[in-house]
């Protein structure tokens, strides 16, 4: 029983990592209705920028807003410069561009900052908070930040004109244009916000997994899984999905005999696919009705 509780708790801690990435994924999905495979590498790159600023002597609390602002600008710039010229190309072409962005960012980060792992400071400290060190202050802080971001996103989409415009633009660009929404700019704004959220996620994750160019490689997959499980249209669902993935994965690794430890990720993914077969729009996602 104790082991069970410990694994759940450690799963929740990991889940916070996935949830923070899942939020960035939901953000970009709301803006462009696709998944961005370069999202993780963008977050990694932002985190390196924060690290570099601190190396140059900037304190953490100054580096944080500067990095978020730079990441926002970077996201907008990528949309305007890279994505805009091919906005009418097929979806698969966009996917290939994401892959190109992925390799460029990963390779550039390795070139500039090399591949040795770097410690990244945490503003919350590492003192144990709960369950004999199972949940450290940083992990508790991370969960709190994820929840705050969730509330802010919810408010943004629900109550601001920009948020509504963005949802409209993504759901139906043609009609949105007719009611006077500048679709191009809401898309760019979406990229910027997703990039900014990703930078916060990166800065929360780096203290746990250490900073290096490949740090987001697999976390992104977990983030996708969480976002899809919870529903790509729902920030709350994505966060919930992230936590569920973390816990289920830990329990599968601990309690399924023989193959459990080796296959904990595939088992978690199979469970997610099973959920999606039963409930195709995710746990909290809205069902979209197709027009004939």
């Amino acid at each position: 029983m104790e082991l069970f509780l410990q694994q759940v708790l450690s799963g929740v801690a990991n889940g916070a990592i996935y949830a923070s990435v899942a939020l960035a994924i939901v953000m970009i999905y709301q803006a462009i209705h696709h998944l961005n495979f370069a999202q993780g590498e963008m977050a990694m790159f932002s985190t390196f920028i924060a690290w570099q600023l601190m190396q140059w002597g900037m304190p953490f609390w100054a580096a944080l807003p500067v990095t978020v602002a730079l990441s926002f600008a970077g996201g907008v710039a990528i949309e305007r410069i890279v994505m805009k010229p091919i906005e009418h190309a097929p979806v698969l072409t966009h996917v290939v561009v994401f892959i190109a962005l992925f390799t460029i960012l990963n390779s550039a980060a390795g070139f500039i900052w090399d591949f040795t792992i770097k410690p990244f400071p945490t503003p919350f400290g590492t003192a144990p908070v709960l369950g004999n060190g199972l949940l450290s202050a940083h992990q508790a802080g991370m969960i709190a930040v994820v929840l705050v971001m969730l509330v802010l996103l919810y408010l943004f989409f629900r109550y601001t004109n920009t948020g509504l415009a963005m949802r409209a633009a993504a759901a139906n660009p043609a009609s949105a244009r007719l009611v006077g929404i500048r679709v191009g700019w809401t898309t760019a704004l979406g990229w910027g916000m997703a990039s900014a959220i990703g930078s916060v996620a990166g800065m929360l994750i780096a203290p746990v997994v250490f900073l290096e160019p490949n740090m987001m490689l697999t976390i992104l997959l977990y983030g996708f899984a969480g976002a899809v499980l919870g529903g790509l249209t729902s920030p709350a669902g994505a966060v919930l999905g992230g936590f569920i993935v973390g816990v289920v994965e830990n329990l599968a690794g601990t309690y399924i005999p023989v193959v459990g430890p080796e296959l904990k990720l595939p088992i978690a993914l199979v469970l997610i696919v099973a959920v999606l077969v039963v409930k195709p729009s995710g746990l909290l996602g809205r069902r979209t009705v197709q027009r004939v």
């Binding site: 801690a13 040795t116 792992i117 060190g133 994750i205 746990v208 997994v209 250490f210 490689l217």
Partner: protein, 404 residues
């Protein structure tokens, strides 16, 4: 008419390619009076690109040798290709090196999967696959693969040393193991079990694998602590090892901790994990540590530092791979020196199997490179060491897997 054009086109392709085919007659492939071609395969891109530093360091070292006049008057023409840690790509690159670039040897190709993929080819072509950069045990097999030779101490030897140490000094311990689920992790685990001998089954109470694709190993450490183990053996690459060290400390768990030597770099593992968390960790070493305050002052490291500043200024001195590549390249140069005028592939292989007490400054004192026609394992010795919260202290005799 179209058909005739077509025939003509096909013939033209044939003729042009025939004309381009070089007609060469050489006694020693890849060798001229002024240079020797040495090939290499490293993962410069992809998930294992951290190791690409080794290939770059080797290139920098050969540049230094060339600047100093080469070996026996010959410059080294070093051709290094990227395989992205993918076995099919390694086969393609090996064939390009052998058949197109016509290198004399392929030196330090990296990774067990890539080397497994090219081993048969290299041996059938009788091209030396020399000093491969992997610690698998299978490279020491001169009978079946006379053209393939390892370099670093193999993982099983290292595991055996930990196993023997535990059996001798902590016979009542309960051992928990976390290992990377690949060839390297399983090899080291096997060595550990061999070292523990008959007691292995009763002493190892938990073995937990992790995949390189996991973000954190927290769950595995929680599980190991829960198993009641009081000895922890960590078989993990630098990033995960650093996570293990930190998580163990966060949990307030105090096992006797054995850490494999791919992850002992003070700069790249211990410092990020927190030196205070790494106190009393036991490990082994065969290379000195560039970030160790005592080793740093040795003449060999002064030399290394000068080399890094001049020939590889972008290189990260905290990265142990630079020391590794530096030492491996020195071994290669020694073989070329020994081979003298006869740089045929057969003679290079013969001299590679004829290293006698060769000393490399950055190796731990007392460890020497030795090979023979029946011993294709150049470095076989390791020394135990303990971390005191600031630096490693080596203790006890220099050991090999058999003689500890």
């Amino acid at each position: 008419m179209a058909l005739r054009t077509c025939t003509l086109l096909a013939m033209a392709v044939g003729a042009s390619a025939l004309a381009a085919a070089p007609a060469m007659a050489q006694t020693a492939p890849g060798v001229t009076d002024t240079e020797i071609k040495i090939g290499n395969i490293n993962p410069y891109s992809g998930p294992a690109s951290a190791y690409g530093v080794i290939g770059k360091t080797i290139g920098a070292y050969f540049a230094k040798i060339n600047a100093e006049g080469g070996v026996n008057g010959r410059k080294i023409n070093y051709i290094s290709y990227d395989d992205g840690y993918s076995p099919p790509k390694a086969v393609e690159q090996a064939r390009k090196l052998v058949e197109s670039d016509e290198v004399a040897i392929v030196f330090q190709p990296l990774g067990t999967p890539s080397n497994s993929a090219i081993q048969k080819y290299m041996n059938s072509k009788q091209v030396p696959q020399l000093f491969v950069a992997t610690g698998a045990t299978k490279w020491n097999d001169p009978k079946n693969f006379p053209w393939t030779m390892g370099w670093q101490p193999n993982y099983q030897t290292e595991g055996k040393i930990y196993g023997k140490y535990i059996a001798d000094n902590l016979p009542n311990g309960k051992v928990g193991v976390i290992f990377q689920n690949d060839d390297y992790g399983k090899d080291l685990l096997k060595g550990l079990k061999d070292g523990l001998g008959a007691k292995a089954a009763s002493m190892i109470i938990a073995e937990v694998p992790y995949e390189v694709s996991v973000p954190t190993i927290d769950s595995q450490i929680v599980q190991l602590k829960g198993s009641g183990a009081d000895i922890l053996v960590t078989i993990a690459t630098p990033k995960f090892a650093a996570q293990v060290i930190r998580k163990v400390a966060e949990l307030g768990w105090k096992p006797t901790h054995f850490l494999n030597n791919v992850a002992i770099s003070v700069g790249a593992v211990i410092k990020p994990a927190g030196p205070e968390n790494a106190k009393d960790i036991l490990s082994t070493a065969y290379l000195k540590d560039a970030t160790d305050p005592a080793d740093k002052e040795s003449p060999a490291f002064k030399e290394w530092e000068a080399f890094m500043d001049k020939y590889y200024p972008d290189g990260n001195k905290l990265d142990g791979s630079t020391v590794f590549g530096y030492a491996a390249a020195q071994t290669m140069v020694q073989v070329l020196k020994q081979a003298g005028k006869d740089l045929s592939r057969a003679n290079i292989m013969k001299e590679a199997a004829n290293l006698k007490n060769f000393e490399i400054g950055v190796l731990v004192d007392g460890i020497k490179v030795n090979t023979s026609p029946s011993d294709f394992a150049p470095i076989e010795q390791l020394q135990m060491q303990k971390f005191d919260g600031e630096r490693w202290h080596r203790f006890g005799p220099v050991m090999s897997g058999e003689s500890s």
